[in-house]
Amino acid sequence: MTLVMVVDDDQDLAEMLGIVLTGAGIDVDLVSRGDEVLEVFRNNPPDLVLLDVMLPGLDGIEVCRLIRAESMVPIIMLSAKSDSHDVVKGLEAGADDYMVKPFRHPSELVARIRTRLRRTNADLLGLLTLGDLAIDVQAHQVSRGGKGIALTRLEFDLLVALAKEPGRVFTRDALLSEVWGYKHSTDTRLVNVHVQRLRSKVEHDSERPELIVTIRGVGYKAGVMGGS
């Protein structure tokens, strides 16, 4: 059974989320205070965290940072603000995705959760290489010179999406559909922030990226070392 931790201080909403997720066959762990999250998280590690931004005790963005410091679990932020500032702050703190309240439909939430939990590229076998990176798709591991690099599931998916077709230029929309499962979202902040985070982990110098190259006005492509 999949376990999702729901962190929200609004009792009614938390209960409602519980009903929706349980109805979709997902186990739910409800937490209502920010400062209680880590303890529950450690005692009973969930498969995914649904995290509200405004929380008593400890701010949601701070909680996100703390979880990310010790786990690569997928995190979806729930935000009542669609203001770019808060969204970007959440993403930078380590969230994989965000949903702005109110959501259109319960099924939308369930779909998002399933996208984040699914094993992408499960059909892809063997090893991919990108520059001096070795990517083991099956084992979900990335290494450079035998040394492992810890990536979140989403960062890994983003890297694989780019690396399996080196040289192909992906538009941000294409990446949103491939990695996040959005049919036609126009929110490119998600892509920008995560590419930035991925670069900081895999590039030698994230200021001058060689593996994930920006194509101005279009999107990104996996660069090959020595190539242009």
Binding site: D10, P102, P106, G217
Partner: protein
Amino acid sequence: MSRLNTPIRNSLAFKVIVSTLLLSLAVGWLIGSVLNSKLSTGIKEVNLNSAFLEARSTIYSVQYQILIAQGRSGTDMTTVVKKIISGVTNLTAEKSSREVVLLRDPANMIRKYNYEMTSNLVDPTSVPQGLRERVQKGNDLNWANATLKYAGATSVPALVVGREIDLPNAGRYEMYLLFSLVDQNATLALIKSSLLLAGFALLLLILLVTWLVLRQVVRPVRDAASIASKFTRGDFSQRMEVTSKDEIATLGNAFNEMADSFEKQIARLENLSRVQQRFVSDVSHELRTPLTTLRMASGIIHTARFDFDPSVARSAELLVAQLDRFEQLLEDLLEVSRFDAEAAVLESLDFDIVKLIERSVADLATVAQEKVTSIVIFSSDHSIAIQADIRRVERIIRNLLNNALDHAEEKPIEITIVSNESDVAVGVRDYGIGLDSNSLTRVFDRFWRADPSRARTRGGSGLGLSIALEDTRLHNGELEAWGSPNKGTHFVLTLPRRAGGSIQARLINLEPKDFKG
């Protein structure tokens, strides 16, 4: 500082210095010339008096010596007279400062002796004819200004004083003493140049003092102006330095008080605006959480509606629809408050506006079907890349399309897309009920509805077009409306293709071609 660099002729310092200069020149000249004329008159008078005294005594002494010489017999009178005359000229230390001319009265008929003579080769014509006539008539001393001419052709200004004397056995002679005025004129010239020098020095002093005073007054005024202009540009921390207790300090204090009051007022308003924004943000958060719960609950009920009684099922549908509307209204209100607080920001990126419009039309296909109408796109190009906030542009397009769908009256809707190098224009035309000129002026007003008596078929917040207008303005674009009753409406959106650019041309005529009159 640019405003302070006015032409020099407009500056206060220049005006004051020029007027001071002119005024002191006038006064100085007046005082100088009065002083000069008084002094020269005085000097001339003194000279004349002393010349008279000298001439009188000299002439008496000459007559006296001649009388004595006459007493001694057998003396050569000519030698005696010459001696006496040369003695007279030698009386003074300065050479040729005094000359003597002895002339025979033309009425004297005695030709036996001629004592006519001059000292130091003075030309006898140096004595003016007018003076001679006066001397011949009168018995006392007479005088005149003349030019003392020497045989060597040099001549100097002189004062001539003379009277008639009797020479024994030779009749009446005119005796003249000629006093050179070279010294007197030199003195007068010295006085004049001293006066000029003093006047010039005084003028310089006045100018210097004026400049110093001006510096003390004008500098603080300039500082004040510079600070005020910085203040105008939004630097409210600027204050004038007050170091003294004079009028300038009063100005400085008054200015600083004004600045303090300004700053307080602005801080108060900024605080109000922050409070307002904060309030809106809080309201938004507080409303969204229960709305989320509501939506989830209604979603579950809606999904299960087929298990319910038809009226309950319909209620579930209405519930979902009204929640949609409620949410849209909340979104729109928040957006409007963001515009009002000037907190709306553009997030520009490159995208294809034709593709965006095609997608928006596709999204509204079912609505169009319900309305028994269709949306046709006429585009000059297959794809038009623009740099803009895609979320806002999409919202403008959706709002225009929703508005057209609401009023299309089952007639097709036409979208025209035209672009050039710098701009792109989108026209949305419907052939429905249209708008009269009164309505056109209000069509972008908040919560305004074209026809209140007409039943609303679809939701809509009543804020769509006003938000579209604000979104357009944020892009430096233009959104205009044309309408005519029963001829439909035509909305034209023009946007610059580059973020931060401005519109160069109107690519679509607001008034449609098919409309006449």
